[in-house]
Amino acid sequence: MSSSNALDQYIELYEAQREAIDARAPEALNRLRPAALEALRAAGHLPRKGDEGYARTDVDAMFAPDYGINIMRVPSPVDVAASLRCDVPNISTLMGVVAGDEFRPTASLLRNLPAGVTLCTLSQAQREMPRVLDRYLGRLSAAAATDTAAQLNTLLAQDGVLLHVAAGVECEKPLQLVNIFNAGVPSLAPRRVLVVVEAGASARLLVCDHSQRPDVDYLSDAVTEIFLEDGARLDYYNLEESTPRTRRAAALFASLGSHARISINATTLQGGTTRNNCTIDLNAPGAEASVAGMVTGSDAQHTDNYTLVRHHAPRCNSTQLFKYILDDDASGAFEGLIQVDHGAAFTEAFQTNRNLLASDRATMHTQPQLEIYCDEVKCGHGATTGQLDARALFYMRSRGIPEAEARKMLMEAFMADVIDTITLPSLHERLRMLVERRLSGDRRGCGDCSASCPTPAIVK
């Protein structure tokens, strides 16, 4: 029915289960819920295709199926972590698994965390670092009242992950979170991550999204809040390799202090319907943000990235680079807005979106926007959508390179500069290999992992 409203069922669920939800969740989350409920009621419905900022993506439809939510916190089967080998070769990451929305850090993970680095559940943080939660949790998501999916996360999330890096601590070892769906019934996971990197500290975090069962509907409703204090630095890599029946509505918020630096790479290798919102606030002079994204789409996959980068202070810079390769009936969307406030003199902000359509049926929607309220800035944006360079293809074939291989080489070359935004060499190589495998349809997926998702080829 066209008048159906997916949001109502979640509000009803919350009202019926309010006590059960709150009883099994940390206080720092519970106290955010009334404002979220108010924002949801004000919105009235989840974004539908054609709503402002949602030209191609129907979030309402993503939430419409009847998913189960693990309100009673029934533990997931213990073998999830054991069945998963998402190790990145040549580097040992400190890895934690989030099954559904349940993070259960292993003893070895906790033992190996360097001094000054905390990676724990929000429940544990409520007991051990309540002041961090008081100060940060929900601050950015609450301000985004119109991001309905993020408000819904706040309404329903009962736990999550805290990464805290104490002032001045450089966390050498990369940290990794693997989000995994493995339930046998349709499931919604409200996933919540809070990252706080204190002044002068640094860390790298890799977050991977996987679904183990291709025949089950899953929805990840994720909120990640990132706070970088003065001079802090974070490399944040997010890789989605899930299934056609996995939906993902993910909101990432980052707030940067003076001379803080964030580098984000968000890659969607595979999925069903994906909507990523990325909001970055450059709040103090000298902050820097690099946001990169890469999408490989095939079959009926739909991937939508929305970015909002706000320059509030002088001498900050931001770069955005998003590239899509879309095959079959895949569709993509990119909307990016750069806002430069009155006081943000000497801003440098650039945004690039380039897309390759590998089939006649694939479609791409792109809309770059600039809002500048300040002189003395250097800003620019560019967007192109096209096919592979026919001259280059013929040149390669004339040298004996078979057409499929030539196409693959050109597509890899197209993605090379996005992959180059990853500074960690072993991860750089890993992602390059994953893209190569995705383009050629290597069924090994993203590694030796038994959870790996079947990989259809882009180049046939």
């Binding site: 074939r397 004339s398 291989e405």
Partner: protein
């Protein structure tokens, strides 16, 4: 010289965007021979080279072309290469993000796979690159760059001959290889072509000017005009063209047509 035919082109016709450019080309080339194809602008010289190499922009509308007996027109561009055809592009294509090394490795190993040979090992491949680079004095630093990206005009043409040296074709077509070259680059490029010449392979030199033919001596010279070979002769024909231009040929042909 051997008697067998390396290339036989018979009444070849081709069109682009529905407009017929080649209107019945006949050409026979034997191993060891160098043929020059000359002609005024727009006569169909580059179309002929593109059609033989399998450029998808052109549609063959009639006739045939065989390379050592193999039906060339039935093959994909990559298989024409594997069968021994090489086209040196008038405008070599820049391919950002694809390194020369990966490009050449893919080309070499694709040919080896076609011939049921094992791929070259890393050290064998590097040795091959080193040897062949020397033929056209191609700088080692270009190997790590993207294909043709940021190469000077001379470097691009030397890179073409380098690729030709690596792939060891039976028949090479040099399409306006002299365009955009200064005299030093021209000498190096022509020297490379001459070094690669054997009694088993053959070369088609497509050029507008006599200049290149001072360095690469043709056995036969053909004049292409309005999509047909209207005149064939020995090397002296090129000198005659240099002296008298193309007008006398044009007039002669146009008069015959009236």
């Amino acid at each position: 010289m051997q008697d067998e035919l390396l290339l036989k082109v018979n009444d070849l016709r081709a069109a682009i965007d529905g407009k017929e450019i080649l209107k019945g080309i006949n050409l026979e080339i034997r191993p060891g021979e160098v043929h020059a194809i000359m002609g005024p602008n727009g006569s169909g010289k580059s179309t002929l080279s593109g059609v033989l190499a399998g450029d998808p922009r052109f549609t063959v509308t009639g006739g045939s072309a065989t390379l050592h007996g193999v039906d060339l027109l039935a093959l994909s561009p990559e298989n024409r290469s594997h069968e021994g055809l090489f086209l040196s592009f008038q405008y070599p294509v820049e391919i950002p993000g694809v390194s020369m090394v990966n490009f050449m490795r893919a080309a070499v190993n694709a040919k080896r796979a076609y011939l049921h040979q094992e791929p070259l090992s890393a050290s064998e491949f590097l040795k091959l690159m080193r040897q062949k680079r020397a033929i056209v004095e191609l700088d080692n630093k270009l190997a790590s760059r993207s294909v043709n990206e940021g190469f000077s005009g001379g470097e691009k043409k030397r890179n073409e001959i380098f690729q030709m040296a690596v792939l060891e074709p039976r028949l090479s077509i040099l399409d306006e290889t002299d365009s955009g070259l200064d005299i030093d680059a021209l000498r190096i490029v022509a020297g490379g072509v001459n070094k690669l010449k054997t009694e088993h392979n053959a070369t088609i030199v497509i050029t507008h000017y006599q200049r290149l033919l001072d360095y690469i001596r043709p056995d036969f010279v053909h004049i292409l005009y309005k999509g047909r070979i209207v005149y064939s002769g020995g090397p002296e024909l090129a000198l005659e063209l240099e002296e008298k231009g193309y007008d006398w040929i044009k007039q002669q042909v146009d008069n015959e047509q009236q």
